[in-house]
Amino acid sequence: MVKLTMIARVTDGLPLAEGLDDGRDQKDVEFYKQQAKLLFKNLSKGQHEASRMSIETGPYFFHYIIEGRVCYLTMCDRSYPKKLAFQYLEDLKNEFERVNGNQIETAARPYAFIKFDTFIQKTKKLYLDTRTQRNLAKLNDELYEVHQIMTRNVQEVLGVGEKLDQVSELSTRLTSESRIYADKARDLNRQALIRKWAPVAVVLGVVMLLFWVRKKIW
């Protein structure tokens, strides 16, 4: 069952449309919306991802397709057939391109095509029940193949940037620590030297002193 539907422009992550009253009776919907927005932001940073992808997050799956610089994203239950989800997105894509295709690049404000939500709403209802004749037929349609679509974890996707940050942080820490280590090592060296020769020096000193004193007294 479709929980969330969002359409955004890939070039800058600008949201273009969103399904109406998505996430009724869902408390954590805001959290997943934030994740979806982060996802868009990552996409807009130019990380070239596959044009079709499934991302697992908690008990749900994000499915998205990127077509014509627009990303169509939906969130479904884990149990919801992948095939149907992607067909749903295909439907949205076809209609969206038909209606708004030529204005996508020029849209200047967020949710410029918010009117599209009525269509999203309607289409969503068609895909609500996986066992309707229509949906069963789609499931059995061999022409539409979804097996190769990669599945990744949301932490991986969102975490890519995070990890890089971590690595660089680690490395900077490494350099600074190694410098400290070098300093300390030098220090230790010196101390070791002192410890090694100090008694000898003292003994010699005493001997010299004795010699000197003896000369004086005599």
């Binding site: 949201p15 969103e18 967020p110």
Partner: protein, 1054 residues
């Protein structure tokens, strides 16, 4: 002159310098001429254009010949002084400055008449040089005088410059002996001209009797002189009129026969002094101040009062928007959006403490604008909106760019912000950005920004209307169910936001009826929930549907709704549970909830009890409890609704008590509105209901909005008054707001003294339009900071003050007795007038007269009628409790113009218009004083308070008119309360309806129901009309004259 300029530095910055500068050469000679003064005085702001057009032409002819001067001279002793004043005056604010920036001496070509003419000739021929508004007037008086006058102006100007308070100073200067003037002149033009002599004589005589001629006064007078008048057709004041010219402040000396008529009190700009005798100047020693005075008779307190009823000021021309502020601050937003109670903000607490009136602002963020003045829309795109880092102020025309355009200084907190790369633009030599003209946000006081994603917590919501309709027996019987159903159906096509609009219905009596409107159905399904204690939704979806998808189902439902409940005998009403159910349905989206209620909620949570019929409670400390919600349930629900972005409009159709006080709190905290139709009967009231419901559904509405008002350092908004929910200390949550709602707020000063000269205010309303765009509407305004109480009075705005006062009074009735609320208002009025009196009484002998600032001349009358308004009037028996509460709720949202209309309704005599030809009915010129004395038994009147019309038929009105307009024969004593005024097939009726239609068009926000009443038809005449003639004495309340006397007496005592 310079010093003067300094005195009022405030004017300087704002004033439009250009006209003056441009003009100097050609105009300067003229400036001296007195007539100009007239302009200033009379027209200051508005008259200028007329002048140009008319002035030059006529004047030119005259100007050519020296003779013209003669008449002038005659008038003219004063002219000299006038000239001085005039010179500076051109733009009103400029006046003071004027002198300071005199045209260069070289510019004065003409020393004597001859030279003068020569120079003139070239200039004048082109009739209208746009440059010189003054010019016109000048010419008329002018050719000869101009030469002579020119020099003089400078001298007198000095006295003019200083604000009135300095009267004493001025007088000393005004006396200026000729030599003095000479010297000053000499600088500009060396030789005294022969031609001038004539004038010069005049001058000494008129203006400057050595004793104490006042330069200021004479000037205005001279203006009023007939010859000048011609020049200024535009000036509203007939020359003869007795009125004082107040420069700026409206200076009025309190001479004996003060004011001939109401006209005398015209707006201060227009006021002229009536003096006829040229040398009058001498008489008015040192009394120059800008106040209006009213002779209250020699023996104050004596029954035989000396007040001339006709001379009392009356706001017959309706609201006066303080447009003048736009001349001082041309970058301000239009006053229709934001008005301050005074445009001079006090600089210290102690000063504020002496201003006893409320200090604050009235904000009307979505006021309707005339075509062509729409608020410009600005889209910054992904760069984001430019705002101050610290105080979050939006970029506006008053920010200053520095550092070659790389930084900008916030005008509110004066923090230096960086200018982002995309927004950078070079500055020109004067420090202005080169692209100011292309950027509305830097050149207009009102703009709308397109909000980027950061301003949305969710995608823009669709417009949503949910109807909660009472279908109990009284609703069916009164017929409102049918009217509501047909009206909603007729509005479906015009609901804003197609194709996203959502709609839903819930009907209730003792049970709740949900309606399944799924688009695949052909007929709606009704689902009844009888369990009122544990409400649940019988369906997860389809109770709220997309209108365009389910249109046919909605149509079917509305068609069948009246018949479905036709035989309903259920008398219960479960409003509380129904509200809860509505909240469950709407909570996901928010929107607008329209509640139609015809009886007292009787079962389930939120049931209300009959109260308010207890006479004994009136006059006791518990009286106010009748006016506050009985059950906290409604306030809690309202808080929930606001949290979910739901606005509630309450339509109450009660035959009996329905506890509007409780129901109204739903609207009060959700930004909604209360519509009250006492004893609704479909045949008579349906038109009103239809119009108002249709307007409610189809007017442009701003959804899920929040509003914040920012202001500069030193001031702070403390209290807010209106229908909204306060989300944090200064954030107003407005689930829905539209053009019919205004908000008032009060200012307080911080402890420290204000050091800046100007303080800025910025209103920002973040909202979602019906088309699904998120926008921020920003209005910015500036006001001067003053250290002078007189200036505060001068810049006061009666409309804003009275609106704020009325809201305070209504809120006061919720915690105090009516009587206390009325007395508090009177106290405020008296205190402020007394303070004003103290300001002036020392210098002037004012025995036996009441003085008040020109700007507040209507205030006493408005306060009087406020005390007599439905919400505050009388006690138990005077107004039914429900009507009183409904009126109170109404007053909390009215914008200024409608509030003033309600407080001083129009009364027009129209029988002549019906009989005579087709001459157009002109409401502004025909408005009468609101007193029974205005009613002539031979005539027919229309009374219009913005909410209803009352057609009053005089006893001796010709039966011909009566029968034709009413369509019935009066001799049969028909019941006029049931009579609906319809258009009949005859001239009279058609003309009457045309007039009524014209009056209605003037105020589209409400439908004025027309009721007919005959003279002597008691008690209807009394309750409908006579009790609303606010100037008359009614039971327990004083008439206008008594009121003035009463106030005067209170001023005298203590």
């Amino acid at each position: 002159m310079q010093p003067m300029g300094n005195d009022k530095p405030t004017n300087v910055p704002g004033r439009p310098v250009s006209p003056f500068r441009a003009a100097p050469q050609s105009s300067t000679p003229f400036i001296s001429s007195g007539p100009v003064v007239g302009l200033e005085a009379s027209g200051a702001s508005r008259a200028t254009t007329p002048f140009l057009s008319s002035g030059p032409g006529t004047i030119l002819g005259a100007s050519g010949t020296p003779q013209t001067t003669v008449p002038f001279l005659s008038s003219g002793p004063i002219t000299g002084t006038q000239m001085s004043n005039y010179r500076s005056p051109p733009p009103p604010p400029v006046r003071y400055n004027g002198p300071s920036s005199p045209p260069p001496p070289t510019s004065y070509p003409a020393q004597d008449a001859t030279t003068y003419q020569q120079t003139q000739a070239p200039r004048f021929p082109p009739p209208g040089q746009p440059v010189t508004p003054f010019r016109g007037p000048v010419g008329s008086s002018g050719p000869s005088p101009s030469g002579s006058f020119r020099p003089q102006p400078q001298i007198p100007s000095v006295p003019m410059g200083p604000p009135p308070q300095t009267a004493t100073q001025m007088s000393s200067r005004s006396n200026m002996p000729p030599p003095l003037s000479e010297s000053s002149f000499s600088a500009t033009r060396p030789p005294p001209q022969p031609s001038l002599q004539g004038y010069s004589y005049g001058l000494p005589r008129g203006n400057m009797p050595p004793a104490s001629a006042e330069p200021q006064l004479p000037a205005p007078r001279s203006v009023s002189q007939p010859p000048l008048q011609q020049a200024f057709p535009s000036s509203h004041v007939p020359p003869v009129h007795a009125s004082y010219h107040a420069h700026q402040g409206g200076v009025v000396p309190p001479p004996p026969p003060p004011i001939g008529g109401p006209l005398g009190y015209n707006s201060r700009e227009q006021i002229q002094y009536p003096n006829i005798g040229p040398p009058i100047g001498g008489n008015l020693q040192g009394l120059v101040e800008e106040f209006q005075s009213l002779s209250v008779g020699s023996a104050p307190g004596s029954l035989d009062h000396g007040v001339d009823v006709k001379s009392l000021p009356r706001p017959l021309s309706g609201d006066e928007e303080p447009i003048k502020i736009l001349e001082t601050f041309p970058l301000n937003c239009h006053p229709r959006f934001l008005r301050l109670t005074t445009y001079a903000i006090p600089s210290s607490q102690s000063l504020l403490a002496r201003w006893h009136l409320p200090l604050g602002a009235v904000v009307h963020p979505l006021a309707e604008v005339p075509d062509g003045e729409e608020v410009p829309i600005v889209n910054f795109g992904p760069a984001g909106i430019i705002r101050c880092r610290r105080c979050r102020t939006y970029v506006n025309p008053y920010v200053t760019f520095t550092d070659a355009g790389r930084k900008w200084r916030c005008n509110i907190c004066s923090l230096l912000n960086d200018v982002s790369g995309e927004y950078y633009c070079a500055l020109d030599a004067s420090g202005r950005r080169c692209d100011v003209d292309q950027r509305p946000e830097l050149s207009k006081g009102s703009v709308e920004f397109v909000a980027p994603t950061e301003y949305m917590v969710r995608p823009p919501m669709p417009p949503l209307y949910f109807f909660l309709i009472d279908v109990s027996v009284s609703a069916v019987r009164s017929g409102f169910l049918e009217v509501v159903a047909t009206t909603i159906k007729s509005c479906l096509d015009e609901l804003p936001g197609f194709p996203r609009t959502q709609i839903g219905f819930l009907t209730f009596d003792s049970t709740l009826h949900f309606h399944n409107l799924k688009s695949s159905l052909t007929q709606p399904q009704m689902l009844v929930v009888a369990d009122l204690d544990d409400i649940f939704l019988p369906l997860p979806d389809d109770l709220l549907v997309n209108l365009s998808d389910s249109r046919h189902v909605v149509d079917a439902l509305l068609d069948s709704l009246p018949s479905m409940f036709q035989d309903n005998a259920n008398i219960e009403s479960a409003l509380g549970p129904a509200l809860k159910a509505a909240l469950m349905v709407m909570s996901q989206l928010g929107g607008k909830l329209l509640v139609f209620q015809s009886t007292l909620p009787s079962i389930g949570v939120g049931r209300l009890r009959l109260r308010g019929d207890d006479l004994r409670i009136y006059g006791t400390d518990k009286e106010h409890t009748l006016r506050i919600p009985d059950d906290p349930f409604y306030k809690q629900m309202a808080a929930e609704f606001t949290k979910h972005q739901i606005a509630v409009d309450v339509y109450a159709f009660s035959e009996k008590y329905t506890d509007i006080a409780s129901l109204g709190s739903l609207a009060k905290y959700t930004g909604g509105q209360v519509y009250h139709y006492p004893s609704f009967q479909a045949p008579t009231h349906q038109e009103k209901l239809r119009y108002e419901l249709a307007r409610d559904l189809t007017r442009e509405t701003a959804w899920e909005s929040v509003m914040r008002v920012r202001c500069g350092k030193g001031v702070r908004f403390t209290t807010y008054h209106g229908h909204f929910m306060l989300r944090s200390t200064d954030l107003l949550a407005l689930p829905a707001v539209d053009c019919d709602k205004a908000f008032a707020m009060q200012l307080s000063l911080e402890d420290t003294l204000m050091t800046t000269q100007t303080v800025y205010f910025q209103v920002a309303l973040l909202y979602t339009s019906s088309s699904g765009e998120r926008r921020i509407r920003v209005h910015t305004a500036a006001a001067h900071v003053v250290a002078d109480l007189g200036e505060m009075y001068r810049q006061a705005d009666t409309g804003a003050i009275i609106l704020l006062l009325s809201r305070l009074a209504v809120e006061n009735t919720l915690s105090h007795k009516l009587e206390d609320a009325r007395q508090l208002m009177q106290l405020k009025l008296v205190k402020s007038l007394k303070e004003y009196r103290n300001l002036h009484v020392v210098q002037h002998r004012l025995g036996g007269r009441l003085i008040f600032p020109e700007s507040l001349r209507f205030l006493p009358l408005y306060v009087l009628s406020l005390c007599k308004s439905l919400a505050l009037r009388g006690g138990y028996a005077d107004v039914p409790l429900d009507e009183r509460c409904a009126a109170g709720y109404n007053m909390m949202i009215l914008p200024i113009r409608r509030m003033l209309k309600l407080l001083y309704p129009g009364l027009y005599r129209i029988d002549e218009n019906l009989i005579k030809g087709p001459e157009e009915f002109n409401e502004s010129s025909k408005q009468l004083a609101l007193s029974a004395q205005s009613l002539d038994p031979r005539a027919l009147y229309i009374y219009d308070d913005g909410f209803s019309f009352i057609v009053w038929l005089g006893r001796m009105l010709s039966p011909d008119i009566v029968n034709n307009t009413l369509g019935v024969d009066l001799s049969g004593f028909p019941d006029l309360s049931r009579l609906a005024l319809l258009e009949h097939d005859n001239e009279y009726s058609r003309k009457l309806m045309r007039i009524i239609r014209r009056l209605r068009e003037k105020d589209p926000s409400c439908f004025q129901l027309c009721r007919v009443v005959r003279q002597g038809e008691q008690p209807r005449e009394g309750s409908l009309l006579l009790s609303n003639l606010f100037e008359d004495q009614a039971a327990g309340t004083s008439g206008y004259v008594d009121w003035i006397l009463q106030i005067y007496r209170q001023l005298q005592s203590s």
